[in-house]
Symmetry: C2
Subunit: 348 residues, 2 copies
């Protein structure tokens, strides 16, 4: 629907790093934002990939993202910790948190870290995959500003608060489920706005809490599975806001429609399980591989449509985009060129 | 749709205990089955409440439920453990497991226990509420026989594998989300079969993987939120089967349509967080109370319909049923009377 261009992933990374560090962001934060958004675009999740690069640049310039965050752990116990992220880039805060959770899990079997005072952390999968690639089973959650309509109400209350889990497989990259608890993402509604196209009935609501097909009138989203998705959104907010002592979704500023310098105080929650504390890790990875293959080999409903496991579309996209380039919306690419004209040389 | 009778909860408990113990089930297992099914019926969840009493009696007689299970912990670490339930009543196994998780969490902040060789554990909420009533935040998961259609396939693969979380609130019983990862429960389809009524389009599939309205042709369920519910079902099976070293949903015998003496080797997974290791517990309970009240006080979509938080329908049912009696299907009550004629004296 949106016109897009393709860029070479390996060529854009150093330019993005340069853009962030020349705006005085510390090199580690810059590294994590870039790694996350490029990985996410490679995985074909364009809503949370490099299309957000100009937004993150603005957040660095405005000071929403702290250039030199001082991370601290106001709580640390054998298996539980709380990280105060000091308004760091969420991508950086999340890696600090999940590495702490991995360290705790290595000793006790489980590590859980709640994060407060963070910012948008991009794709939840970045952190869960980081741990799964090192052999852990990991969960990643974040809250976000209110966009999902309350069950029985007119207005939104919870964010699209994703649930994400990753775990190692024997002969391919980790299993990864990464799902918003809304039926579709808010970014999809934004795309329909840009294209001035009607959205399908059942995706979004207007200010009166009625289904709407005009994307410009949409103010809230349908939860995934009706009241069940709303319940999952509340579960995520309890973990990310209440355990971390931060604001709940309803009190978080919107990502785009708030003052660019305003800090959003987003909360995350990570839980890491050390597989060897439960079972033999190679056996686990083989069993998960076998489970996935049994699903993929089931009789198909439609001959041309694969039976899929969560993460399979992302793995296929990764292979395609590694050679064919990552997608960027044409209008976003104009912003890339304003940031650094050298991006013109990264076009496929 | 089904005709039902109402029974006095306090009068049926001793009769049920007598029925189980006279069938040689140990008193602790009997206690937990009875506590769970009566609590669940009080909460209005009739699919997992006292309607299952005759089934559990048969499972005791047949030996599917081990009369004198020897619980063992093949793995025990600071925050992680595996329980071999020796084919105990799932209600008993689950309590042993979550109490272990609570003990671990008290010391380290988090406790996670995977359970193998268990049987049907009833409502997931029984265990999470048990921990939440003692001040913990708790998750409860179980796998089950394959009933949810694979995404893109024709046949079911995962069970209705529920996700359940409970946490303490300041001035009412704990928050509790307890949801099957299917759109509706299999029990609902069974009720439509009994009543010989068409099921709504979109709930269930026939053997060709097509939506079906004839309940007798239904062989699989639609996942909640489409592929998202299927993904959550896989997440639950990874926790309950792979970490516990037990069979996955696809390999678990059906609850009713298998040999009554066959042991099903169901797996569960419990995770308990000690709130005080993250934040001040009273503050947490107040914040959760406040979150729930803000949702309930939102502007209503329909004047006669409350804005609700997960668990609110169950809390309302509990108050109603405590005075008005718990529901039992009329045909199930005939089985109660065969088991013990004294149940006739428990009618409201």
């Amino acid at each position: 629907m949106m016109s897009s261009l393709r860029l070479k992933a390996d060529l854009i990374k150093p330019l993005m790093l340069k853009a962030f560090t020349s705006r005085l962001l510390n090199a580690v934060s810059a590294q994590h934002i870039v790694e996350s958004i490029v990985q996410t675009s490679l995985r074909g999740v364009d809503s949370h990939g490099i299309n957000l690069f100009p937004h993150y640049c603005r957040s660095v310039v405005s000071g929403r993202i702290n250039h030199h965050p001082q991370f601290s752990f106001p709580q640390t116990h054998a298996s539980a910790a709380v990280l105060d992220a000091d308004h760091a880039a969420g991508h950086h805060a999340g890696i600090v948190a999940i590495e702490k959770a991995m360290e705790l899990a290595s000793h006790t079997g489980v590590g859980a870290v709640a994060v407060r005072n963070s910012s948008h952390y991009g794709a939840a999968a970045y952190f869960a995959l980081h741990a799964a690639e090192k052999g852990f089973l990991a969960f990643s959650f974040t809250n976000a500003d209110a966009l999902v309509k309350a069950f029985g109400g007119k207005a939104p209350f919870f964010g699209t608060n994703p649930v994400c889990m990753a775990a190692p497989m024997a002969s391919e990259s980790p299993f990864c489920l990464d799902m918003a608890t809304s039926l579709v993402s808010w970014n999809k509604i934004r795309n329909y706005r840009t294209a001035n196209q009607e959205i399908p009935h059942g995706w979004a609501y207007d200010a009166d809490g009625e289904f709407v097909t005009n994307p410009h009138e949409a103010v809230s989203l349908e939860p995934a599975g009706g009241y069940k998705g709303f319940g999952l959104g509340m579960m995520v907010d309890i973990l990310c806001a209440l355990l971390a002592s931060g604001p709940i979704s309803k009190d978080i500023l919107p990502m785009f429609a708030s003052a660019p310098e305003a800090q959003r105080r987003i909360g995350h929650f990570f839980m890491v399980l050390s597989i060897k504390h439960f079972t033999e890790p190679n056996t686990f990875a083989n069993l998960l591989q076998n489970m996935a293959e049994r699903i993929r080999n089931m009789e198909r409903l439609q001959p041309q449509m694969d039976v899929m496991v969560p993460g399979d579309p992302e793995k296929a996209a990764y292979q395609r985009n590694l050679s064919g380039g990552v997608h960027v919306d044409t209008e976003k690419f104009a912003e890339f060129l304003e940031i650094l004209p050298e991006f013109s040389e990264t076009l496929c």
